[in-house]
Symmetry: C2
Subunit: 452 residues, 2 copies
């Protein structure tokens, strides 16, 4: 077992998965984790459910505490330590301690960057006012929870209609707040095509969320107590709580001066081995790029699954292995009250940009046999390459049992299956689970007729 | 459009799918459907739910009536007409009319055999007694329903622990009967490996079904009112209702004297085009063989999905097309009260017979993020080829949301994916739907360690 000193920057999914993997394989190496917040190894995706009260306490989201890592796994886990600079010429990082405000340089033999992402927000007036939150870290989630408990806000404005925005909309509805949502485009969820996004718009409106579409954030207004309103290009909306839901940006500002290559969005550019352009430096999780397996091009996506998988691959390779993370097809799911939303692959607008000739269809059918009780509407949209019939993307909206069907489409995309291949799949059927033709196959049957 | 006279024997899923497809493409040909019972085009898989009362009436299971086919689709649909002989030398079939007991020969240019399957029963004493039912046709389902309403039976014995047996056990529990189940092997559901079957045994026992395992049917006892008991090799069980759940046998007795090739179980042997050994004669659905895509060998399975798909392929080819049904991987799902059971691919015992060196594992994990409310236990068993890591089979048992995950494994089997491929799939994740590693990936991660 090789002796070396590894520094990991960031102690959530990617960082701690790597740390644990390395420690399982190597008892000799020194592993130091610098984590900016008080928390490591938690489910960031669970934050909306803790805020809504579906999950009783933030502690349930924590997989392992810093103490467990230190004592049980001999991983030197230092919370409240923020790395503010990386010097790859001299193999050292500059660390800021938030408790005593001191700084020190720490050297490494190998370095893993796993700083995750943060809620994106444009640089507008009062963006740092009290009452404005992203919810990408457990610390920020706890802040929102405390804010709701102590300040009892009444009017929440969610800026942006991405997954986190929608999940937070549900959470805040459950907490009894008025929930408004402003969204730059016509339909919320820009990871869906507009026809499917419109269904989500309707569902959210039915749940009681007031949506202001085609409105852009201009600034926030605030007084000494914090945010008071959100100003868009069309109106001013009263707000005593604002949630940023405009997507995730990689947490890499501290790397700007380093020699580590970042892409135009600031994500660390990595190979499929998770190695950066610098020898002995790896990156994994929401701070790094990945590959889109449909386009075979670099791609940025902030996703818990990818953080875990890339953390594992980085861990193996830091330990001298030859693992690769092939990439993603852009699969994502989201639940808002009874509604399930799922997507994978490419959107129409992306295909237009790439000048790929495609066909598409959207069908409405039932999630179970039509006669079976509680059979619900399910909408499936498929997009395929016109020339070959190869699947390029899929989107599903429905109620219970709808979303997980996206996994077959994700598998189909990965292995470049055609509509004919999908129709021929031996998918499971019994009346409580599906119509005799699974909805994804019904959509494929309709779409294949458009190829001719 | 070619002019020809087509006879279709059997008017359910396969036959009417073919008839409808042909009529859509060809307005000129003559299509005659001979159906033994009063019903065509219904969901046989829905029968247990109509008997339980979950589905209010048997009429809800009917997709189209004979009248609709006759008037709207110009398909000459003749109910109560049973074909009792096929003469392929002279291109004619002998038809028995059950209303006036007359017989006649009808000639054809093309013939489709789609007579489906029936509940298998060994040739034991009193097997035709009143109160003993298979439930493979709507007519038989209605008979059971009427029997329960009129005779008010108290003690039901289900002979055999296959899908239909289990679904009927649920239905009869709902109707308030005492339900006993006798089963030849130790565990019910012999389409699962014994370790997974044991979980189904436990679940059924918890629901109130008394299971007598390793008991074999010897005979039935009956008096003038019908069945009175089921005699096994170990005991005599009081029964005023018996359901046959020992599997499905192809309905092909009327072909024994013909030149159409049947396999050892009596299923019509067909090519992937659904054509039989005789020119201008096709077969589809539960009366025909198919191909197992894992072994690439002929395979018999009675499944609504296969009936629909093979009916469609037969229809296209009768109309001069070049369609093929590639085959199945043996996917099946079943719901019994809250329990979901799913399987695909090969069992351990089948692999032993084939002398294939395999590894297997069974894991227990959660269906959703562990902290999410209503997260339930889910068991996943995977079997892979030891030399290559290629997936060979999968079995899943759990509660809501468990079973449909089998579809990813069915897709993986079809495209010969390895455990590594499965681990790398971009499957969907959000806390209400899955742990961050989907249970099928967690099982693959465990099993891959056994390859080394």
């Amino acid at each position: 077992m090789e002796k070396y000193k590894l520094i990991i920057i960031g102690g959530d999914a990617a960082g701690m998965t790597a740390a644990s993997k390395i420690r399982r394989e190597n008892k000799n190496c020194e592993i130091i984790v610098f984590e900016k917040s008080e928390y490591v190894s938690y489910s960031a995706c669970g934050i909306p459910y803790f805020i809504s009260g579906k999950v009783a306490s933030h502690e349930e989201l924590i997989v392992r505490t810093p103490e467990e890592f230190i004592k049980k796994h001999k991983i030197d886990t230092r919370i409240l330590h923020e790395v503010i600079e990386v010097d790859t010429d001299n193999n050292q990082v500059l660390v800021h301690k938030s408790d005593d405000k001191t700084q020190f340089w720490e050297s490494y033999d190998k370095l893993l960057i796993a700083t995750g992402g943060k809620a994106f927000c444009p640089d507008v007036e009062n963006r740092d006012a009290d009452g404005i939150f992203g919810v990408s870290t457990l610390r920020s989630g706890i802040k929102v929870d405390n804010f709701i408990k102590n300040k009892k806000p009444k009017n929440a404005v969610i800026v942006g209609g991405g997954y986190i925005g929608l999940e937070m909309a549900e959470a805040l509805l459950i907490k009894g707040l008025n929930v408004l949502l402003i969204n730059r485009s016509e339909e919320i969820m820009n990871t869906l095509d507009p026809d499917m996004g419109a269904l989500v718009n309707n569902a959210m409106t039915n749940l009681g969320v007031k949506i202001y579409a085609k409105e852009e954030l201009q600034k926030f207004e605030a007084d000494k107590n914090g945010v008071t309103s959100v100003v868009t290009d069309k109106q001013t909306l009263k707000a005593d709580l604002v949630i940023l839901g405009m997507g995730t940006a990689p947490n890499t500002a501290f790397l700007k001066k380093s020699k580590i290559k970042l892409n135009e969005k600031g994500a660390v550019v990595v190979a499929k081995t998770q190695r950066t352009n610098i020898r002995n430096v790896w990156a994994a999780g929401d701070c790094a790029t990945t590959t889109h397996l449909v386009t075979n091009k670099p791609f940025y996506i902030a996703m818990g699954t990818v953080a875990n998988k890339t953390g594992l691959v980085a861990g193996k390779n830091i330990e001298g292995g030859k693992a690769v993370f092939p990439g993603v097809v852009g699969t994502a799911v989201c639940k808002i009250c009874v509604y399930e939303v799922a997507r994978t692959g490419m959107l129409e607008k992306q295909l237009k940009t790439l000048n790929i000739d495609y066909v598409q269809t959207m069908i409405k059918t039932k999630s179970r046999a039509g006669y079976y009780p509680d059979s619900k509407d399910i909408y499936v949209k498929l997009i395929a390459e016109k020339r070959t019939g190869r699947l390029l993307g899929g989107q599903i909206i429905g109620e219970e049992g709808a979303a997980k069907r996206i996994d077959v489409l994700a598998t189909a995309l990965t292995y470049k299956l055609t509509l004919r291949n999908i129709i021929d799949l031996d998918l499971s059927y019994a009346p409580p689970f599906s119509p005799v033709w699974d909805p994804v196959q019904t959509a494929a049957r309709k779409l294949i007729t458009l190829l001719k």
